[in-house]
Amino acid sequence: MSNPTDWAAVRADFPILDQQVRGQPLIYFDNAASSQKPRAVIAAIAHYYERDNANVHRGLHELSSRATDAYERARAKVAAYLGAASAEEVVFTRGTTEGINLVAQTWGAKFVRVGDVILLTEMEHHSNLVPWQMLAERTGARLRFVPVLDDGTLALERLGDWLTPEVKLFAFTHISNSLGTINPVAELCRAARAVGAVTLIDAAQSAGHLPVNVREIGCDFLVLSGHKMCAPTGIGVLYGRAELLEAMPPWHGGGEMIVSVSYERSTYKKAPHKFEAGTPNIAGAVGLGAAVDYLERLGRAAIFAHDLELTQQALAGLDALPGVRVLGPRGERGGLAGFVMAAAHPHDLTTFADRHGLALRGGHHCNQPLMKKLRLPGTTRASFYFYNTRAEVDRMLEILAEAVRFFA
């Protein structure tokens, strides 16, 4: 590796961070909900609109070929970033949620039958739960859940109790957005393969935060959202193994996804294009390509180490606050700290923090069933990214200590 990263210089790449909120310097700790964007990404999008904008794959003119090149170059970058075998395994979507719905409605509709089991975990985000409930309702398949233990990890020792041969698909998150748990994804994929189950990984919280290589992990599908990894909103990725994507029927019908159309019927392009009906989010893809370049330059291992350091600092400080309980595993974990404060409900606490310029998230974090199981009305979450600093974590801990006194 090269020299240690100059994180202060990296932070200066993010114009939005340099502002006051409510008369205080902004501390943005809601990165698990959405990350901020570096100048390189904003500039790439601006450049696209100022120089190259046109529709893709259809015009025979110069701008259209530039736009097409930019769009397909972004696909190739993402494929390399994820370690995919080829760019054809990368489908652009609007985000994680759309990617999961795409798989549920195409692969699921074709291959899932009455009596099959769709295995999930108790820590899934609503977006990796509701589409499967809808599929189960349509097909008569059953849902099953790997339990979450008190320490915030999955009940892996008894995985075989749930991961049985009836399991057609095992869909699970890489990093829990409320607990911070990092699941052993490669191990889970191996176990799923052994019973013939297809795997889908929700990489919304991991793709921008630690090295993710689909071939090393051995997953069949993986989904992510650009906006959580320095790219704009409205762009995401579904990675699918070529063989699976080929076997899947198309999803939306329309332009871009067809080879030929008559009044009666049409023939479809190959993956990934058969899943990308209509004019895609070209500028979004360009932004995602720039984000991937940016993250690769920093190095995902370095990003992970930075976030983990802030997380450990935050957890140690939170443990020292009276009446505060931290959720999730200790040691190696995702860059977020979810906690409850006895004196204050998460919404009162986040309102309090907001008036101090500190952006936290309070609530159920789209994990309603998990919150119910943990008997919590919700939690407060601080989530970090590489542009956050130790000084910001210290300031957060001061503000939270003040909150303990204020609400006591």
Partner: protein, 154 residues
């Protein structure tokens, strides 16, 4: 410390959130309304017993949620008990005005509920303050039986 925070979380409000008054359920002869804020998970179970001519004879609530939702419901039950239907409706209207607009001189009728005026500086918290009142409004509409209301349409 921001004064807006101090206005929002006055000691009376924090006290009601920690030690809610009229906390419980009226078993017989009451309207029961379940109210929730799905986006934040606040919940209220309101029981209202109406007397002749729609007088609010008794009112109790149970609930979980943020300080604003719980204190507002607690203060509401104290102020509503014994009120005529016309007064209760007037309070509902006046309270909504209090938390959403700049009211120079809020009606005396509201009593300690006027302490919740600070909510208007926090637009995202208006639905917390209104939760108990939405449930009460529903109770007024139906006068008997059970119902539920939500601050978001299902």
């Amino acid at each position: 410390m921001s004064t807006e925070l101090e206005e929002l979380y006055q000691s009376v409000i924090l006290d009601h959130s920690k030690r809610p008054r009229n906390f419980g359920e009226i078993a017989d002869g009451a309207v029961h309304v379940h109210g929730d804020n799905p986006s934040c998970g606040d919940e209220i179970d309101l029981s209202v017993k109406f007397g002749a001519d729609g007088v609010v004879e008794d009112v109790k609530f149970k609930g979980v949620g943020c300080a604003i939702s719980q204190a507002s419901a607690s203060l509401m039950t104290m102020k509503l008990k014994g009120r005529s239907e016309a007064d209760a409706r007037e309070m509902l209207r006046a309270f909504h005005d209090l938390v959403t607009t700049e009211v120079a001189d809020p009606p005396r009728l509201l009593g300690d509920l006027r302490l919740l005026a600070g909510v208007r500086k926090f637009p995202q918290r208006v639905k917390c303050a209104m939760l108990g009142w939405r449930a009460f409004e529903q109770a007024l509409e139906q006068k008997s039986g059970d119902a539920s209301v939500s601050t978001e349409e299902a």
